[in-house]
């Protein structure tokens, strides 16, 4: 990494090592004098917090693994033994279990930061994609970790999540059996999940290294979203941001430690203290809170794709075409687009209600089951939408062509994004509630907003949101107090 001319260190030992492997030169360059925008707000603390959390998870995980037994007959008891008999076992387990929750709190804030301040945009696309990869790996790791205590929620969570794969046409059943290593969730499933749960955090650490490497090539984004121009715009990382990050980490830890000591089971489910029983499903299966929004998207599909919905989708794609082309805003006729969307909407409504009728066995006003029956069933749609809702983050950098990064200077995008945050919480609540009554349509509307934000909102705003005047430089904005949107429309 760091090669080329090197400055000598005064300390002889450091100099001896550094002249053979310039690791101190690298640290000095990347974490010492590294020029960092001087206008960071507290949202920029979460990268450091995530690094610390990963370290905590690995250390507590390895010590737990010294006492844990990955066997379907022994796993539950070995976790209880950790809680009661192993010295400080309760502490290690509570740090680890609550650590998963706080890891996700931090990663969600970190992702929001990237979205809001446009950090995913050119030139940081790859950096963002590594981030999304880390998020996916974290989800897989946390899911498999949650299976290890082999309680009721562990078992039935594993049952539901591995069943996602049975939705794949033709080979779904075979893949599910292969993943589980048997015809049901059993010892074979537990042992492989333990092996992978042990491995994946180290894979995460490797992707984090790539993520940080890419960051140090482009440099950090900042709340104004404008590029660093001169030395005046930056501060050396040490001591300014080492101190600020340490402060942020400590405040975060205060909340985390509060949960570990005073409410260690609040974020978990009481049912997981009942040993796994393959014959009885808990009355109310819910995933861990951090998976709830995605679980709600899965369950929002009480309907599949039938003929009218397919036609509606095709018309939507047609209506969106100009937004993905090189056409300028003047060349797009919004009235035509609006009418096309209205037509698509009518088809969606016909498709949705005709399935609803078929389902409830009421009289058919909208043609026979040929038209209303779904050929991509609800289960497959739900699974595709759930994975799609994360996959879409990968292509986000290529869908958003608006030249301005930060939401501070994109008033429309700002509202849409803050609504997305609200929507995420609505989905979270829907995911926790039973899939009945009022919660079903609510989750469907919330799911539509989530999808619409990315598929329609972002490309639309790319073309139509006015480009505002940006501050000339970070330094100018900071010294003149122009960090909020005080800017007039560009002439």
């Amino acid at each position: 990494m760091a090669s080329g001319p090197r400055e000598k260190f005064d300390n002889n030992v450091i100099e001896w090592v550094d002249s053979r492997l310039p690791i101190f030169t690298m640290l000095q360059k990347e974490y010492g004098v590294f020029p960092t925008p001087k206008n960071f707000n507290y949202f920029w603390n979460f990268g450091a917090i995530l690094m610390i959390m990963l370290g905590i998870m690995i250390i507590t995980g390895i010590t737990l693994a010294m006492h844990y037994t990955a066997n379907a007959n022994l796993a539950f008891d070995s976790v209880e033994r950790i809680m009661r008999d192993v010295n400080y076992g309760w502490l290690l387990r509570y740090i680890h279990a609550n650590g998963a929750s706080f890891f996700f709190i931090a990663v969600y804030i970190h992702i929001f930061r990237g979205l809001y301040y446009g950090s995913y945009k050119q030139p940081r696309e790859l950096l963002w994609m590594f981030g999304v990869t880390i998020f996916l790996l974290m989800m897989a790791t946390a899911f498999m970790g949650y299976v290890l205590p082999w309680g009721q929620m562990s078992f039935w969570g594993a049952q539901v999540i591995t069943s996602f794969f049975s939705a794949i046409p033709l080979v779904g059943e075979e893949i599910t059996v292969w993943l589980r290593g048997g015809f049901s969730i059993d010892n074979a499933t537990l042992t492989r999940f333990f092996a992978l749960h042990y491995l994946m955090p180290f894979v995460i650490a490797a992707v984090v290294a790539l993520h940080v490497w890419a960051l140090h090539v482009t440099g950090s984004n900042n709340p104004l979203g404008i590029d660093v121009k001169t030395k005046q715009d930056t501060l050396p990382f040490n001591p300014y941001y080492t101190i600020k990050d340490s402060f942020g980490v400590l405040v975060f830890m205060l909340f985390y430690v509060g949960f570990v000591f005073f409410a260690p089971n609040v974020l978990g489910h009481a049912d997981n203290y009942i040993p796994a029983n393959p014959l009885v499903t808990p009355a109310h299966i819910v995933p861990e809170w951090y998976f709830l929004p995605f679980y709600a998207i899965l369950r929002a599909f009480t309907f599949g794709v039938n003929l009218p919905i397919l036609i509606g989708l095709a018309i939507t794609a047609f209506a969106m075409k100009p937004f993905f082309s090189n056409k300028t805003k003047e060349e797009i006729n919004l009235k035509t687009v609006g009418i096309t969307f209205a037509i698509a909407g009518i088809f969606f409504l016909i498709g949705y209600f005709s399935q609803y009728q078929l389902e409830s066995g009421e009289t058919m006003i909208l043609g026979g089951s040929f038209i209303s029956a779904a050929f991509i069933d609800a289960k497959l749609c739900g699974v595709l939408a759930m994975f799609g809702s994360i996959a879409i983050l990968f292509v986000l950098p290529f869908m958003d062509k608006h030249p301005v990064r930060s939401a501070r200077f994109r008033p429309w995008f700002r509202i849409a994004t803050l609504l997305l945050v609200l929507d995420f919480f609505v989905l979270m609540v829907c995911g926790a509630k039973p899939a009945e009554g009022f919660w079903v349509p609510l989750s469907q509307v919330a799911m539509l907003y989530y999808m619409g934000y990315f598929i329609i909102g972002i490309p639309f705003l790319s073309k139509f949101e006015p480009v505002l005047d940006l501050p000339d430089s970070i330094h100018q904005a900071v010294t003149q107090g122009k960090t909020k949107k005080s800017v007039k429309k560009k002439a």
Partner: protein, 185 residues
């Protein structure tokens, strides 16, 4: 690694394949075979092991199960429902029009003896165990089984009638080895 020799060899290739090309191809294909032959064991080790496959049958004595009762037995680590159906339940299951079913199947296709319904107790949606085995359980809108996880309703033949599950509850392979003995698997 300059430009010129590269170009010459490109031209060579176009004109006629050389012995060197042949060696490259054979070496590459042997390499592919080697990678494939080690990849397959690595993938296949995750499939059910021989002892898991060997647990594939269960025998049950169903004599004590009275009309209107049901029992749950374990087969391959998963519950199997055996229900001794009442005449009313049988009648209900047989009076449904096939066109009203999401996964059309007659009741006759789903049972060997009309009184005994034997099926895997795993919801075809995402794998929960539906309720309806115990008299106190909710049985859903069609008086059969109800899956509480995402609200699938099954009828007295275990067919999906309402909710997100795509197909009927699965009928495992089974046979009556005696009047009141069922061998599953």
């Amino acid at each position: 690694m300059t430009d010129t020799p590269q170009k010459i060899s490109d031209n060579d290739k176009k004109e006629e394949p050389t012995r060197r090309d042949f060696l490259y191809l054979t070496a590459a294909s042997m390499g592919a075979v080697a990678v494939g032959s080690i990849a397959w064991p690595l993938v296949n080790q995750m499939s059910p092991a021989k002892d898991t496959l060997a647990l594939a049958t269960t025998e049950v004595d169903i004599a004590p199960v009275e009309v209107g009762q049901a029992i749950t037995v374990m087969w391959r680590g998963a519950p199997v429902f055996i229900r001794h159906r009442t005449d009313e339940e049988i009648m209900k299951a047989r009076s449904v029009k096939l066109a009203d079913l999401r996964d059309p199947q007659t009741d006759e296709e789903r049972v060997q003896k009309e009184k005994w319904l034997v099926m895997t107790g795993i919801c075809t949606h995402l794998g929960c165990v539906p309720l309806g085995q115990k008299p106190s359980d909710p049985k859903g809108d069609y008086n059969g089984w109800f899956c509480p996880c995402h609200g699938s309703h099954y009828d007295t033949s275990g067919r999906i009638r309402k909710g997100p599950a795509p197909t009927n509850l699965v009928i495992p392979p089974y046979e009556f080895t005696g009047d009141t003995v069922v061998k599953i698997g």
